[in-house]
Structures are given as structure tokens and as C-alpha cells.
């Protein structure tokens, strides 16, 4: 990755058909582009799906990514905007022996809460800007998290 490479969010609207996801991921691997995260789900009441891809690259690389994505036949639109609202979710599993009150307070500070408790573990959830999710994950290190899962970012242009 060269020095002027930066993090960018690319949204792609594709026809919801077989193998469309592999067309996208093949393009990234085949042309040496980076995928930091990728989320995909159908758009309600349509035949399209929306992908949100977080990637890294220089201005020229990002321009190529959007053009190459657009060349794929099932791709309807490619958005690569600055002005976006971006959110990501994370789930974290803690031992039940940790301080649940503190964990719950932390989760709430990042738009989340405790979502599940069992005999041995407690699961906390947060949903926030990807950077803030990162801060949260740093902050909960001292509560001995057993497992962490991040959803990858979703974004909408404003």
C-alpha cells in the first residue's frame, strides 16, 4: 500500500443473482485491490442487492475500482462519496464473572447494550461509526473478551 492510500467506502448496487458476489470479490483479488470489509444484503422490494465495501487505495486506484466495478454486467450503480453516514455493529462475548454493570455502561456509550446472558457468558452489542467501534473494542480489553465479531461497515450517502 503506497503512502497516499486512504480508506474509502464504496457502495455497489447489483442485480441479486447467482454468483454476483464472486464477480465482485474476484475483481478485487484479480486486480490486487484491498477489501477491508464487505457487507451485502438484498434491497427490500427490488431485484437488487446493496454491497458496502470498505477499501484502501490511492485516488487513481479508487477511481479504477469504481470504473472496473461499473464494467461488470450485473452492476447497476457504484457510489463512492465523501458525504456519508457510516455505521458498524460489533458483538462481544465476556465471561459472566466480569463486571456486567461496567460493561453495560460502556456498551450504552456506544449505542449498545447487553443483548444476551447465559450461565457462563454475557454478550454485549454496540452500533456506531467504525472508528468508534474500534475505540470501544480497545476499551473493553480489560474485561477479558472471549470472542469479538464485527459486522463490517454499512453506509448511506447523505
Amino acid at each position: 500500500m503506497n503512502e497516499n492510500s486512504e480508506r474509502r467506502v464504496v457502495s455497489v448496487i447489483v442485480v441479486n443473482e447467482a454468483s454476483v458476489l464472486s464477480r465482485i470479490t474476484n475483481l478485487f483479488s484479480g486486480r490486487g485491490y484491498n477489501i477491508t470489509s464487505l457487507t451485502v444484503a438484498p434491497i427490500p422490494d427490488s431485484k437488487y442487492s446493496r454491497l458496502t465495501i470498505v477499501t484502501k487505495g490511492s485516488v487513481r486506484v479508487i477511481e479504477q475500482i469504481t470504473k472496473q466495478l461499473h464494467k461488470l454486467i450485473p452492476v447497476l450503480k457504484v457510489y463512492e462519496h465523501n458525504d456519508i453516514v457510516e455505521k458498524e455493529m460489533a458483538l462481544v462475548k465476556f465471561p459472566i464473572t466480569e463486571n456486567i454493570t461496567e460493561i453495560d455502561t460502556l456498551c450504552q456509550a456506544y449505542n449498545g447494550k447487553i443483548v444476551n446472558v447465559s450461565e457462563t457468558i454475557v454478550i454485549g452489542m454496540v452500533a456506531d461509526e467504525p472508528k468508534r467501534v474500534g475505540h470501544f473494542l480497545d476499551a473493553i480489553k480489560r474485561y477479558n473478551p472471549k470472542e469479538i465479531v464485527r459486522s463490517g461497515a454499512v453506509a448511506l450517502e447523505r
Binding site: A18, S19, S22, N26, E63, K67, H70, I73, P74, L76
Partner: protein
């Protein structure tokens, strides 16, 4: 009308005006071959290897301007074809390739001759389909032809499981295409075109940089008119050979790694590159930071992704080349060709300083002479295919091309074994022209089984084997950059090429003198049968000039000056 999936393939081909299909049968595609047996709407040419079927379809497509069609079976039939698909993808050749697949119930079970064909062809096709219901076939086949020939052309692969070819469904080829996500650009932006024309009018040393997109867009006539009315010199890429006739005064030559001195110097000195359907390939640009360093760039291309991919375009114009050039011609009065008089003189001085030539300084025939001689004897009456290597570069440098679609070669992928099957496809598309394949002693053996195809179908391709007993281009690099360590490139042990051709029912000549060559070529053309003409040429001849890989265009290795010739 109700019919089987296999019948639909036949009916779709006929509806698309297909007259020739190249292919090779096998288990999974047998239902379709059964229908081929019953029909007489098109002819089928049986190649002797699936790779050759794709190359033949490519040659057919490049010579005719139509979509080339090939048919193959699943598993190894398909994997053999992958090189051809990749070749067509790199050179933007419109193909529809239909492959058989194991029945739907066996997909994913590692069945006999099963391979994930769609997964493999994805990165080397413009688009591909796995057909899971015969009811989808009319739409998919229609889309396949449409996608292959429109926009930036390319190969489209349609994989059909065996049970789908047997399935009965409704066939209606008048279905309207509803490709909401695929709408290729055609018209160029008028404001950009105006800006570009103003830039040409204001430039002092403009240079046309002509690419293969001109041929794909059938725009050679318009480009010739444009170049002549501007009076601006032009360089051609390898893929654009024949856009301007070789005797055109404004044609500087081919540029790039083995381009002429004058072309590469013109590109290095220009103040405005007028790029038409060219993609700034690394074999053209050399070191990017030094390429046309002082120039602004106009770039016309139908593929937005080609623009500013490698070289930043100051005047990007996305659109069909023919349409854009016609729009540009409307503003031709802005341009005064007298302005470029001294620039034209500068370029002709370059050409005088280091003309594109070679030395006749050995007893053996020089390979360049053979190419030139065929040009003198056959000229416009021949279509010229090549394989890949030194002979390919000499052909591009020295053959006097006079028209687009005359030169058919593997540019982007550089596929050895391309030439012979491609020449078969070329001859099938244009039987009135002599079909010549310039090849080397290395390349010819990569699809030599096509002798059988050509002999059986009476497709008289003349293969001129420039035999230097070397894998010449690699040998050249080893000589120049690997301290003469000729690792695995010495091809001293060879078949008897004359007997080889004769064994398949062709004719063969082995020539060592110019007189013998003239006689052999004349005889082969007159006999009009499949031929090998093996020419024993100088072993250590190098392709010159040469821009070493990654070097700047103006830093060429040049032919040593000699007083002779």
C-alpha cells in the same frame, strides 16, 4: 415454439446469422451436437484441440467483424479453451463460447468431466452464464451475442448442463433484451469533443496514437479522413496495424518496445497525444513517468476504465470511436495542417537518422526479408496471421499492411499457438484472400494438430515457419540481459517440417535461398492447399529497435549502423 435446449442453441445461432461454428464434441455437449448433425443453417469446423477452436473463432471474428462462435464440452474440453478465452478477453474480440456441463443433479459432486467452468472463466470473459433452466436460454443467448459485440467487445461464455440441453421449453427469440445494468456509451460528450478539437488546433507537435479500438469500431475510414485533413503524423500500436496504409505519408510507424525509432521519438517529443482506441499498454509506453512527458493527452475510448488507468487523460472522451471521430470531423475547420509542417519535418528527420531496416550481412536468409518479400509478392491479396515471438514483431514491423482486419495476431496475451488456428478462422471468414500464418519453429508446434483440421476442411492456410532453431524472442532476451545463458531455448532438435505437413496430407517446402523461397510461395499459392514453408533463417538475428522492459521509449537499443545495404 416448444423445443429442447439443444435445439434452442441451433435456432439462436441461425437467428444471429452465424454461418460457421468451431468446436469439438464430448459427453456433456452431445445433445447439441446431435442437433448440429440434423441442421444445415451453419457449418461446423472440427478443430483437433479446443484451444484451437477458440483461436479459430477469434481469427474468424477479427477478419469478419462478426461474433465468433465456438462450442466445447465440459471438464477438459472447457479447460483447454481457457487460454483462448483469455486471449480474446485481452484483445477485445467478440466471441460466444458455449460449453457443456454435467447435469444439474451432478453439479458439485465432482462428477466425471465436471469443473466449475463459470468460476474459471469469470476473470477472462466479459460476462458468463450458467444456464439452469431451458426457459432462460433464448434470453441468455441473445444477451450473450449482444454483450459480446457491443461496447468494448469481448468473449461471453455460456455453460449449459446436459439435462438443460434436453429440457423442453418455449423458444421465442424475439424477446426484448432488458439489460438495465448494461448500457454501453456511444456518443461522446460534445463539450469534451470541442475542448479536444481546440487543444489540437493549439498544439504545435500533436501526434495521433492509433489503437485497435479503431478496428473494433469499424472506424478506419473515418480515422484516415481525420488524420489526412489534420495533416498530423500518426503512430500505430501493434493492434492498429493496417488502420493507415503502410505507404501513408503521415504514418510514422509502430511504436513501443519494438517500435521504430521515429515513432518512439515522436511520442517522446509530442506536446499533444491524440489517443484513439488505444490503452497505453506497458509494451507501448515503456517507463510511464517518461512517456510523452511534455504532452497533454486526449483519450477517446469506449471503455471508461481504460481512460486515466495508466496515463492521465487531460481530455477524456468516452464513446464509440466512429461516432466521436465523425463529431470531431465536423469541427475540422479549426485545424490548419500547415501549422504542423516543421513538426512533420522533425519526424521525417528521425526516420532518416534511424530508418526501420536490417542488414543483409550473412549467408542465411534474414527473417525480415521473408516478411518483406511476402509483402511484395502478395501485398493486399493476403490476410496475415502470426504466432508469438520474434517473427510476430518482424511481421508487424515489415509487412506492408494496407487495410484494417488484414493483420490478425495475439497482442495482449501473447499466445504461442494462436497463429495457425486463427489463420484457419480467417480463411473461413474471407476465402477470397490468401491466408498466411507467419510462425516460428517454437510456436508452430503448439497447435500443429490443426494441420488435420485445415486438410480435412480444405482450408488452405500457408504457414511460413521462420526457423532459427531457437525460441527466438526468449533467446534474444537471454543474449541481451542474461549474459548469453540460453537456458532451454535451443531448439536444435526438430521434426522434419516437410514430412510433418505431408503426414497430415498437406504439402511442405524447406528453403534456404531467396530463389527457393519465391518458388515455394508461388507454388503454394497456386496449389491452394495447406502448406508449410520452412525457411532456414539467420539464427542470432535480434528484433531491433528494442526498448528494454521498463525503460524509456527514447532509450532504444538500435540496429548497428553499417555501410552495406
Amino acid at each position: 415454439m416448444q423445443m429442447s435446449g439443444a435445439q434452442m442453441v441451433i435456432e439462436a445461432f441461425i437467428a444471429e446469422g452465424v454461418d460457421t461454428v468451431f468446436g469439438y464434441p464430448g459427453g456433456a455437449i452431445m445433445n447439441v451436437y446431435d442437433e448440429i448433425y440434423k441442421q444445415d443453417g451453419f457449418k461446423h469446423i472440427l478443430n483437433r484441440h479446443e484451444q484451437a477452436s477458440i483461436h479459430a473463432a477469434e481469427g474468424y471474428a477479427k477478419a469478419s467483424g462478426k461474433v465468433g462462435v465456438a462450442m466445447i464440452t465440459s471438464g477438459p474440453g472447457f479447460t483447454n479453451a481457457v487460454t483462448g478465452l483469455a486471449d480474446a478477453y485481452m484483445d477485445s474480440i467478440p466471441l460466444v463460447v458455449v460449453s457443456g456441463q454435467v447435469p444439474m443433479s451432478l453439479i458439485g459432486t465432482d462428477g466425471f468431466q465436471e469443473i466449475d467452468a463459470i468460476g474459471i472463466s469469470r476473470p477472462c470473459t466479459k460476462h458468463n452464464y450458467l444456464v439452469t433452466d431451458a426457459a432462460d436460454l433464448p434470453r441468455i443467448l441473445k444477451e450473450a451475442f449482444y454483450i459480446a459485440r457491443t461496447g468494448r467487445p469481448g468473449p461471453v461464455h455460456v455453460d449449459i448442463p446436459k439435462d438443460v440441453t434436453a429440457q423442453i421449453a418455449e423458444f421465442d427469440y424475439s424477446v426484448e433484451l432488458q439489460l438495465e445494468t448494461y448500457k454501453p456509451h456511444t456518443k461522446g460528450n460534445p463539450r469534451q469533443i470541442k475542448k479536444a478539437m481546440d487543444a489540437i488546433a493549439n498544439a504545435k507537435r500533436p501526434l495521433f496514437y492509433l489503437g485497435g479500438g479503431i478496428i473494433n469500431s469499424n472506424a478506419a475510414d473515418e480515422v484516415r479522413e481525420f488524420v489526412h485533413k489534420c495533416g498530423i503524423p500518426a503512430v500505430e500500436t501493434f493492434m492498429a496495424r493496417g488502420v493507415l496504409a503502410s505507404d501513408d505519408k503521415l504514418l510514422v510507424g509502430m511504436l513501443g518496445m519494438h517500435g521504430s525509432y521515429s515513432s518512439n521519438m515522436a511520442m517522446s517529443e509530442t506536446d499533444l497525444v491524440i489517443g484513439l482506441g488505444a490503452r497505453f499498454d506497458d509494451r507501448v509506453t515503456g517507463k510511464l513517468s517518461e512517456f510523452a512527458k511534455n504532452a497533454d493527452v486526449i483519450h477517446v475510448d469506449i471503455d471508461p476504465a481504460s481512460i486515466s488507468k495508466l496515463v492521465n487523460a487531460d481530455f477524456p472522451i468516452v464513446g464509440d470511436l466512429k461516432s466521436v471521430v465523425i463529431d470531431m470531423l465536423e469541427q475540422i475547420s479549426k485545424i490548419d495542417s500547415d501549422n504542423y509542417e516543421s513538426w512533420r519535418e522533425t519526424i521525417s528527420n528521425f526516420a532518416e537518422l534511424h530508418p526501420l531496416t536490417y542488414h543483409e550481412d550473412t549467408d542465411r536468409i534474414k527473417p525480415q526479408w521473408v516478411v518483406q518479400r511476402v509483402g511484395e509478392l502478395l501485398g493486399d491479396s493476403a490476410n496475415i496471421s502470426t504466432d508469438v515471438g520474434q517473427h510476430q514483431m518482424w511481421t508487424a514491423q515489415f509487412y506492408p499492411f494496407s487495410r484494417p482486419r488484414q493483420f490478425i495476431s495475439s497482442g495482449g496475451l501473447g499466445t504461442m499457438g494462436f497463429g495457425f488456428p486463427a489463420a484457419i478462422g480467417v480463411k473461413a471468414a474471407m476465402p477470397e484472400k490468401t491466408s498466411i500464418n507467419f510462425t516460428g519453429d517454437g510456436s508452430i508446434l503448439m497447435n500443429v494438430q490443426e494441420l488435420m483440421t485445415a486438410v480435412e476442411k480444405k482450408i488452405p492456410v500457408i504457414n511460413i515457419i521462420l526457423n532459427n532453431n531457437f525460441l527466438g524472442m526468449v533467446r534474444q532476451w537471454q543474449t541481451l540481459f542474461y549474459d548469453k545463458r540460453h537456458s532451454e531455448t535451443d531448439l536444435s532438435v526438430q521434426p522434419d517440417f516437410v514430412k510433418l505437413s505431408e503426414a497430415f496430407g498437406g504439402i511442405g517446402y524447406r528453403v534456404t535461398t531467396k530463389e527457393e523461397f519465391d518458388a515455394a510461395l508461388k507454388d503454394a499459392v497456386e496449389k491452394d492447399v495447406v502448406a508449410f514453408i520452412e525457411v532456414i533463417v539467420e539464427r542470432m538475428e535480434n528484433v531491433m529497435p528494442m526498448v528494454p522492459s521498463g525503460g524509456s521509449l527514447f532509450n532504444m537499443m538500435l540496429l548497428e549502423k553499417k555501410e552495406t545495404k
